[in-house]
Symmetry: C2
Subunit: 214 residues, 2 copies
């Protein structure tokens, strides 16, 4: 991923975190690291008669976030037609057990982005960006896989969002109890949650399995 | 969690999965298992002048999903005032490496729910439901923690959503390549992703740390 060149984004009326403001972080490097670690985002937008929401894959290059999908998809269609997107990315890092029920919480890192989709039309640029998604999957993968043909490129819409209006919210560390509760004989602590990538389960399908003519 | 009594929900116009319909699952037990395994959902709704989206914790009892927060939160306020919510829950299970760039994918399980919030007003019921959230954190926790007092209960809004309009989308298994690509000398397979809960990091803050008068 190339190095971001913009200054950290200042909060706007929408991205100014109002509740739990002490958990608000606007530092660009922090927010970009969350976007890069996570694979799945949730994209919300107003569709014809309702608010729609979908999970999808995302990736980042510089100060742009990308998603891909089909323009036959209703939410993608709304985005292409100009609906403002609200995109959320959240990583859960643990459960925080406090002495009081009220102060139970979770450790997490989240980013909320507002923006308008810019569809990527030019085939070579679209292919370059889809290659970047494969590189996020695994470094070097875009050089290994059979590249997309013209029809496959046409069937895939890539949408770009400028990362200019975004905010983050993070919680880290242990429980924060009221002083009056600290002497209570109640355990407290953090149960961490981590994501573990396993060994690749290779697909050894015989060549003639899907090629009966051979 | 009590056993759901309703029949599986039939798809409505909104929840009918149109793209990738072969990945669509409407079986109630499957969808409920996804909701119960996941801790974080993303809630979208139309606010005054924009579509808002927030991550929050959720839990389920029977055919209802619950979230909690503060009514001073803009999105919660919109929900309480009658905006329809669209709630998404997604668990990523792995990356699917296909022989072609185009057929790369991810294994995942997701649920999308549409519904209107019903605020829980009655304090005893609110407390019972917040206890259920603690039980999701850890069985028995609601009996261990110091219970919420009147002010803490007042500061917490609990919103209920009937699980009547929902859909799921899942992908499992290995890569699905075009027949013509199967003979290519390109590796394919699935890199699994799992969530691991670690050992609890107990908080051993000395009692006098926050109680200097002792």
């Amino acid at each position: 991923m190339q190095r971001p060149s913009n200054p950290p984004s200042a909060p706007t009326q929408k991205t100014q975190v109002k509740r739990g403001a002490k958990k608000a972080h606007y530092d660009q490097a922090t927010l970009y690291a969350i976007l890069d670690e996570a694979f799945v985002c949730h994209v919300a937008a107003q569709q014809a008669d309702h608010t729609g929401l979908q999970p999808t894959l995302h990736w980042r290059e510089g100060d742009r976030l990308y998603i891909h999908g089909s323009s036959k998809n209703g939410l993608f269609r709304a985005l292409i037609e100009g609906a403002e997107a609200c995109i959320g990315v959240t990583l859960l890092d643990g459960i925080v057990f406090a002495r009081s029920a009220f102060h139970h919480s979770v450790n997490y890192r989240s980013v909320i982005i507002y923006g308008y989709a810019k569809p990527i039309i030019e085939p070579q640029e679209k292919r370059r960006l889809l290659d970047l998604m494969l590189e996020k999957f695994s470094t070097g993968r875009s050089q290994e896989a059979r590249p997309p043909n013209e029809n496959e490129l046409k069937a895939t819409d890539v949408l770009a969002f400028e990362l200019t209006e975004m905010s983050g919210k993070l919680r880290t560390g242990g429980p924060v109890d009221d002083a009056a509760d600290m002497a209570l004989p109640i355990w407290a602590g953090v149960k961490p949650l981590t994501r573990q990538w396993g060994e690749i389960d290779y697909d050894h399908a015989p060549i003639d399995h899907t090629s009966p003519s051979q």
